[in-house]
Symmetry: C2
Subunit: 203 residues, 2 copies
Amino acid sequence: MPTKKKPQVTAAAARRGELLGTAAEVFAEHGYNATTVRRIADHAGILAGSLYYHFDSKESMLEEILRTFLDELWDGYDTVLASRLGPRETLEALVTESFREIDRHRAAVAIYQKESRQLVTQDRFAFLAESQRRFEKAWLSTLERGVAERVFRADLDLRLTYRFVRDTVWVAASWYRPGGKHSPEEIARQYLSMVLDGIAVRE
Amino acid sequence: MPTKKKPQVTAAAARRGELLGTAAEVFAEHGYNATTVRRIADHAGILAGSLYYHFDSKESMLEEILRTFLDELWDGYDTVLASRLGPRETLEALVTESFREIDRHRAAVAIYQKESRQLVTQDRFAFLAESQRRFEKAWLSTLERGVAERVFRADLDLRLTYRFVRDTVWVAASWYRPGGKHSPEEIARQYLSMVLDGIAVRE
DNA sequence: TAATCTACCAAACACTTGTTAGGGAAGGGT
DNA sequence: ACCCTTCCCTAACAAGTGTTTGGTAGATTA
């Protein structure tokens, strides 16, 4: 029976996570394709070949980064959706949760934004397509409920509205920097104010 | 004195434009870095080396694609800005003009969206940074005028609002397909309706 | 008809890429 | 003292990259 096995595996997992973190940042900064494994290794203070002690391939690093992010994202989303709030409150909670995820996983979100379109076609990244379907379903049904309950406008193309709301939230990852003057919650509040009430003065 | 010189140069320019068009589409679909010159050549029905009869390098193709797009974009923007409309009408005209540009140059816009962040640091693409500065100035001043004239809300962070409006417009290039059921003007109308008045029902 | 030019091909170049194989230093376990 | 695992390095590989060179069929010009 092996003694003292657990300490090593957690240490290994910690190192793994550390390397994935630096890889995510380099991917986010230069793009996946333009990022060489040597550059990731440089950033981590080791040599390129050494990465292959921890990971099977460059692609598997990308996969693990995106999987980890999406898993945590859906943890938050599912909690919101399970609360069975009204449509407006659901939308507010989803947006706020999204900005929190951007705060926590900004590199992964940036990568997702830039690369997901081309990745979804690969079998390996089929989970991205499934996530997108769930995503669209969650948002669209919230919007539909809102229209039915007369809290959202009925004169808008809902699919267009969905893309509008989705994009306005996630593109923020391209300029957001954690530790800035706005907290995720504050940014969410302003975004919601614009999306819900518009930027024009009411008369 | 050379006779019959002009027909050739216009034919050459036409071929150039043709090749730039296919290059732009491949760039937009797979990303600049992931696009090989061989794939562009395949798409055009020639061999990779033959591209170098028309262009200096892969990078110069990218530069010409983006320059052409930005030149036409600013033609439209400058016309709008020169009209000296009120802030709300200026915003409406700029948004509408943007969607028309997306309709005309959707490949170039998609490339710009995905690659500009990394390109601006290169000397060769310094014109992107200049364009971004003019862009921010045009939009921000319009928003500021709107706040001063009490047609836009005064309680919003203007820089956040600027990024919001900017992003909501341009990310549309990632899903917009010309010839769809919505014309650029119709999409602009719906976007403006959401941005100006919000998606919530007014009470 | 001969000369020239246009737009392409064929084949190679130098370089970078992701990845692999073998080795070795450090350190805890027995 | 020895072994074994962990984590990294050194050095190389094969495939793919952007680009160059020399050549050539066919149209255009003189």
